[in-house]
Amino acid sequence: MAVDTKLPYDKSYIEQFSSERNEPAWMKELRINALEQAESLELPKPDKTKIGNWNFTRFKHVATGETISSLTDLPAEIQDFFDVENLPENIVIQRNHSVAFAQLNEELKNKGVIFTDIFTALKEHEELVKRYYMKDAVSVDEHKLTALHAALMNGGVFVYVPKNVQIEEPLQAVFWQEDPEVALVNHVLVVAEENSELTYVENYISNNKEEATVANIVTEVIAQDNAKISFGAVDNFAAGTTTYVNRRGVGYRHATIDWALGQMNDGNTVSENVTHLIGDGSVSNANAVTVGRGKQIQNFTAKIAQWGKNSDAQILQRGVMKESATTIFNAIGKIEHGATGANNEQTSRVLMLSEKARGDANPILLIEEDDVTAGHAASVGRVDPMQLYYLMSRGITQEEAERLVIHGFLDPVVAQLPIAAVKKQLKQVIERKVN
């Protein structure tokens, strides 16, 4: 069966969409050029997963969402993302494609910190957005999905932390796809200027078990010299959403970008998390965890490419597979020529809970420099019966023993999530998916 890959939206639609939002001319132009490229570019080719039949192109593009006056007006499943007793000071809640709620601490505003939705940022901070939007991290023309993203971007946030500003309180974004049919083409742009520091955590959620739609997410994270970015995420799209998520970091001299990604989608997912360590002494720790269930197919690539001397890269992937789920983990370490003293370590582990589940862990090291250190470990295995015996010999039921082993297996990644409430919420999602 031939798959209809004809794009659902044309140039005039995009012009109108852009005009309605009073976008700057360059943005409109970027969208229109991207649409042209999307027609001819191929889909990406994630290693070992065929996505040619996946629906990335047919979807409803726009829906608005009502604003709320207080965080406590949100439904319980959204309130799970924060501590209701101690409400977050810095938060943006996007409901479908509207901002339902946004606030930022006054002190941070006065220091020049920007944390706002992408459309407001295009109006109020046009030059900054223009400087970074699909320039240094992700390019429009990488493949059909990046081009489609650029053409149809319909949500997202912009985070900007000026030079020498260190933020202790986390910034949190919640992307709530309330409408079960609408696609989320979300763009997150995080820029940390020299010697700045921030923690950003995002949550994606939808409930479309039956209705088919698409999430096409591009995240660009730029850490200038000596900047430190801690990036956390919990993705929780329902089974009906086919997801492409591309989170990319660029680190300059002595910059640090740490990722903690809880990838808990129930639908088919292609996830790329690529970090370029450009500067000497730059560091990245890429941690990701997933639970696959049902018949979902997922492909996760974590790649860290190192140009900087003495740069350090650590990839840690953990996955639990149940029922008939299929997951491919690709961990790629690339050390470029000239990156002397670089270190790259990667570990991918998959725990299989069913005979029908499939898991594959592919560690790849591509090294073009002699004076480096690198190592990798990968394993695909089952729950160790000796562990269950040991736990059960203390009176713990088999079910509870398995639960402990599974949570324990995922804990090294879960523990990295920077906000306690989000960590707790991720544990709840894991609990739901595992049991």
Binding site: Y389, S393, R394, I396, L410, P412
Partner: protein
């Protein structure tokens, strides 16, 4: 009735088709400390594992009863909740699960839903036992047995014993690999359990543990059977004279399981 009774009758056990235990009889009552001694390879650890329900061991004959209930019909976790405990020679490492979370799960497994141990009481009790066993408080938040030294694993087993408070405990070579200071601390923990509601089976092939824990009964295993039983004086004689005199008495040349008398 004071305490529980564990009765092992004519127990035969195989592993991978090879018979290791060839008819063990032993009764342990609340308030009693029993020691099983014997050289390596005579079936002591097999006895411990078979009673607890280790998946690799197959019972081919005989019975194990706890207060008259058939233990062999129970799942491993049911045996534990019925009152049995095994301090293992090689405890598993459980990555990602802290000692504290694990202990709380084990304690709550014995309580009804809605009647879980209050967190503050749990922490207080745990701190007390950690101190008693001279274990650093940090162990509570370390992943269970992961990266523990041999001595730390043994202390952790005794910590679990003290926290879970079983009716009948089997300690499988709890003394192996311990230096003298650690041995004293571990013994102190075991002795603290003494009482009419606690029975204990200590498996060892060194007499030195019994310098710190005085058994009421001493049994010697050879060729997969209990070949001699006596009081604490038997352990002293074994230390002084070794096992050869028993072999001579029984006409045994090789005491290990592979050989039939």
């Amino acid at each position: 009735m004071a305490g529980s009774t564990l009765e092992i009758k004519n127990l035969h056990v195989e592993i991978e088709g090879k018979e290791i235990l060839k008819g063990v009889d032993l009764t342990i009552k609340g308030g009693e400390f029993h020691a099983i001694m014997g050289p390596n390879g005579t079936g002591k650890s097999t006895l411990a594992s078979a009673i607890m329900g280790h998946p690799k061991y197959e019972i081919t004959e005989g019975s194990v009863l706890l207060n008259g209930e058939d233990v062999l019909e129970m799942e491993v976790d049911e045996r534990a909740r019925a009152g049995l405990f095994l301090a293992m020679q090689y405890p598993s490492e459980i990555s990602g699960v802290t000692t504290s979370d694990f202990l709380r799960s084990a304690i709550n497994a014995r309580r009804e839903e809605g009647d879980e141990i209050p967190l503050m009481k749990f922490i207080k009790d745990l701190d007390k036992d950690l101190d008693y066993l001279e274990i650093d408080q940090s162990m509570a938040t370390r992943y269970l047995n992961e990266g523990f030294s041999g001595g730390e694993k043994k202390r952790n087993e005794i910590l679990q014993l003290m926290q879970i408070k079983p009716d009948i405990a089997i300690l499988d070579e709890i003394d192996s690999g311990l230096d003298i200071d650690a041995l004293k601390v571990v013994s102190k923990g075991i002795n603290k359990m003494r009482g009419e509601n606690f029975g204990c089976l200590i498996i060892t092939h060194y007499q030195r543990l019994l310098n710190y824990i005085t058994p009421d009964f001493v049994h010697v295993m050879m060729q997969g059977r209990v070949v001699k039983s006596g009081g604490p004086e038997l352990a002293h004689r074994l230390e002084a004279e070794g096992y050869d005199w028993i072999k001579e008495e029984l006409g045994i040349e090789d005491e290990t399981v592979g050989q039939n008398a």
